[in-house]
Symmetry: C2
Subunit: 290 residues, 2 copies
Amino acid sequence: MIRSHNFSAGPSALPIEVLEKVHQELFDFAGTGSSIMEISHRSVLFKNLFEKIESDIRDILDIPENYKVLFLQGGATLQFSQVPMNLLNGKKKADYIHTGLWSGKAIRSASRFCDTHIVASNEMTGFNHIPLQEELNLSSDAAYLHYTENETVQGVQFNYTPNSSVPLVCDASSSLLSKPIELNKHGLVYASAQKNIGISGVTIVIINEDLFNMAPNSTPEILNYTSLAKANSLINTPATFPLYITGLMLDWLISQGGIAEVHHRNKQKAGLLYDTISSSGGFYKNNVID
Amino acid sequence: MIRSHNFSAGPSALPIEVLEKVHQELFDFAGTGSSIMEISHRSVLFKNLFEKIESDIRDILDIPENYKVLFLQGGATLQFSQVPMNLLNGKKKADYIHTGLWSGKAIRSASRFCDTHIVASNEMTGFNHIPLQEELNLSSDAAYLHYTENETVQGVQFNYTPNSSVPLVCDASSSLLSKPIELNKHGLVYASAQKNIGISGVTIVIINEDLFNMAPNSTPEILNYTSLAKANSLINTPATFPLYITGLMLDWLISQGGIAEVHHRNKQKAGLLYDTISSSGGFYKNNVID
């Protein structure tokens, strides 16, 4: 079997073990005589699968008890709107760190709902580095502070967790499950699944229960974090097959040694790349600022 | 291979030919050395697949030129809110036919955005029949008229297309692709895919272009039909694998003889059931009113 390398934007490659498992049980999931694609999301079998997925991700990321995990649809892009639709709590302003294309989209989406205060932007220097904590011009009256952990287009990533007196919201779409995350410092973390957590069609939201019951009545129930949490993310039919793949990815991640081992491998891979750049005699340039 | 029958609510069974095709090309889609799950939604290959899906559904349903087809996420339940978020056009009221559980949910969702005028309801009689056209107490100042073509919980289905002077909106979640539909009479038709159009994770919206540019600025771009149409449904990463299954379902449907043949088979299946009821000497009761 020839397997291509995938250096593409968009969906990432899956471990071959995950594809092999899908292939093996495609026609008959757990002795049901049905494919996982055909099974009711209200069945005991799916309920057990869904509970295992939540339990596994809680273990892997060491998610505190007072945080709820939601499995949604619509991608990070829907979260760009869903965050302000839920978390403004009557306030008129939210703080945003502008570090590149993705945070720019989050800011543009939020501006339909509130004033977006840019606490730091490196647009003038082509988004070539991440602002330091002391460079953040934070508001005390903001509903939350939003940042994009990894700007995949500009190639800049936070090497620290921002501090703020208001709830911290993180778009961790390309980095969740690639390394540990300090969840206790965050109010809400969201990520689309297609990088490290499966395939497109699943969005993970990890939310501190303190942020429940803040949404105005104009927020649809299907987009309301509190309602979604009460229904265990099952207000309606979820994307069952993509969720199943998330489950297999978590199984694989655990089998590999969990987040510590994956983080170790990712640092090794990045090291190979940066060593090549550093030893290229200036042919490749390295803008890493530690 | 033992294949179970599926009489369950929720996701339906898939044709074995569809599962066999998935199984066959799971590791290597179109000679790429990658699974369809791993391929970028911005690649030429996926773009071609996506265009074929749209072209096939247009052929199968005979969709007029002035209607756009959108492939979205979030299920019919998100459409319950997305419809009023897009189609109120400055009006304060929308007409709804209340025929059972699903239309009830649509009404409750819309009531966050406008007055919902119930033009007919059979709640008092346990939703045991569909109101006739002449029983509809239609408003002339409503933004649109919404109906649920098939109420799967109460077991009642429209045998006519309602007439109204305002745009007609149809939740066709459980019946789209099971029989022909008079699209010209509709402003918008939506359906989740997991009954006849694939698996959960895809929502189809068929919309008359006359209904574009009506959404207020408060409607997020990712939920705005006009913006979604301009971006060919690709504002962000779609649920690529469920879309691929929709493509295979459409291939299968065409191979079987299209919508006419499928409708014929469905009438035969329903006939078997109703004949059994009718010949049961009153043991089973039949509430069908023609």
